[in-house]
């Protein structure tokens, strides 16, 4: 069971958090103008890399804030967490 560092509350047990999938997938500006395929990609398609992944997490049992994290999906190690208003970190 991991410790996840909530940007606000600090390290807490994994069980206090809920997962939000891939980060930086904005809601389209004008969905009406998207093709069915483009819309489907927004609704259903997410990256699924083995390795570094920018994800959304929510400290659901704590401050209920959403935040982003760079996590390695192979080792599960959190490389960093950052607030929603922070830019996506450039990772080597």
């Amino acid at each position: 069971m991991q410790l996840i560092a909530c940007p606000w509350c600090g390290p807490r047990e994994e069980v206090e958090f809920s997962y939000g999938g891939q980060a930086h997938v904005p809601y389209p500006d004008s969905p009406a103008e998207l093709s069915d395929e483009e819309w489907a990609h927004y609704v259903f398609f997410r990256d699924n890399p083995k390795g570094r992944f920018a994800e959304r997490w929510n400290h659901s049992a704590g401050c209920r804030r959403w935040f982003n994290a760079i996590r390695d999906t192979a080792t599960y190690r959190f490389e960093r967490v950052y607030r929603l208003d922070d830019p996506k970190p450039v990772t080597p």
């Binding site: 991991q2 398609f45 999906t73």
Partner: protein, 410 residues
């Protein structure tokens, strides 16, 4: 005291399973992924279609992924027509598989109970049972007292937190020995001349327009007429190499096993509400699965609190399990699609076929998808059983949503 000899009845393995082969430079068909689906597809390519210039590429050891890690439950009592069709096709093949493979796979049709704990569970269960009947899938609804008859150790008391209100029952469902199934397929494929190549990881693809011409591997580039992707949890790693986006997410799914115990549990019990499924394998160990871990993961391990919660559910449902011992835990990687149904069929590349998104259903589908995918490859045309599971359905919205009822009623 006369010694019981659990497992003494287990059959001996054949003297040769498969050759340890070097890959050739070129094959008519290259199957990426030496798990159950890849091996079954190879077997049926040879058996049903006489296609044997085939290689199965496995990055690790044969059938070492989900095939070696699942809880071996086999059933076909799915809700939607499309799902029950392919799983029932699989179940019928399971029923003849031992003869087909000439290999003792210990297929035991001991039945599967899916417990209902809330009124909505009951509605959903009856709905599924009635649908199964009309689709020709054996299914019945059991009241609690009938549940107790089928599996006496289930706690059917009414004063537990979530009393058992009944269960669906599929008598023809059951379990099999996962390794033996994989080895049976592997042995037949090997006998047919198909090359099973281990420690051969795919590192890329050589493409020419809308065709894939070669598969680059850690053991050299292999030319391929047709490529079939059967990599389950690692599918995205391959499709990323091809620039194909596939809506699957890989999640850890944990399982565990107890010590050998005298027979107490004659069937298979699943309870989605409290997230546990249990069977007692041939030698007597209790085999259990838990819920899928929530986050994406390729680590073949999950968080222990999932196991703890599952143990609580197990002891709640089966009080006599209290002092059974957890011997070993492990994790697999399940590739889950948005509608919890598989994605099988064509890709943007003319000669590449996709088979993924089976989630927790992969093992039970093994012979079914193997034969249907082989047919699809042989005729270059999706078999009717896989036709509904196109990638395209996420665009049109024609999903096959096996999530079942989502919310809780007023």
């Amino acid at each position: 005291m006369s010694p019981r000899t659990p497992g003494a009845d287990l059959p001996d393995h054949p003297d040769l399973l498969w050759r340890d082969t070097e890959p050739k430079r070129s094959y008519d068909v290259v199957i990426v992924g030496g798990g159950g689906h890849g091996l079954a597809t190879a077997h049926y390519l040879a058996k049903d279609h006489g296609i044997t210039n085939v290689a199965v590429l496995e990055k690790g050891w044969l059938a070492g992924g989900n095939m070696a890690r699942n809880t071996t439950i086999i059933r076909s009592n799915y809700l939607w027509d499309e799902s029950s069709a392919i799983y029932e096709h699989a179940l019928k093949l399971w029923e003849g598989l031992e003869e087909d493979l000439g290999y003792p796979i210990l297929f035991s049709q001991r039945g599967v109970l899916n417990l209902a704990h809330t009124l909505q569970d009951v509605r959903d269960s009856v709905r599924r049972v009635e649908a199964n009947k009309l689709n020709g899938v054996d299914a019945e609804w059991l009241e609690p007292d009938e549940v107790r008859k089928v599996c006496p150790v289930v706690n059917t008391s009414t004063d537990i937190r979530y009393p058992v209100l009944g269960a669906t029952y599929q008598p023809r469902a059951g379990i099999a020995k996962h390794d033996y199934v994989a080895w049976g397929f592997a042995r037949r494929a090997d006998e047919a001349g198909i090359d099973l190549v281990q420690d051969c990881e795919v590192t890329g693809f050589t493409t020419d327009g809308d065709r894939v011409t070669g598969v680059q591997t850690t053991r050299g580039t292999i030319a391929a007429g047709t490529v079939a992707l059967c990599a389950a949890g690692h599918t995205s790693v391959l499709t990323d190499m091809l620039g194909i986006r596939v809506p699957v997410q890989s999640h850890p799914l944990q399982a565990l096993v107890s010590e050998l115990l005298e027979p107490v549990h004659p069937t298979v019990v699943m309870s989605n509400a409290v997230h546990v499924y249990v069977s007692q394998a041939h030698k007597g160990e209790l085999v259990m699965g838990a819920g899928v871990d929530s986050y994406n993961g390729y680590g073949q391990r999950g968080a222990f609190h999932v196991i703890e919660r599952q143990m609580a559910a197990a002891v709640e449902l089966f009080p006599v399990f209290a002092r059974a011992h957890l011997l070993r835990t492990w994790g697999g990687i399940v590739d889950v699609s948005p509608d919890a149904s598989p994605i099988v069929g064509r890709t943007p590349y003319d000669n590449v076929y996709l088979n993924c998104g089976w989630g927790t259903g992969g093992f039970k589908a093994t012979p079914g998808i193997g034969s249907a995918l082989a047919h699809t490859i042989a005729h270059d045309e999706p078999h009717p059983y896989v036709a509904p599971f196109t990638l395209d359905r996420f665009v049109t919205g024609a999903l096959v949503d096996e999530h079942g009822a989502a919310a809780v009623a007023h």
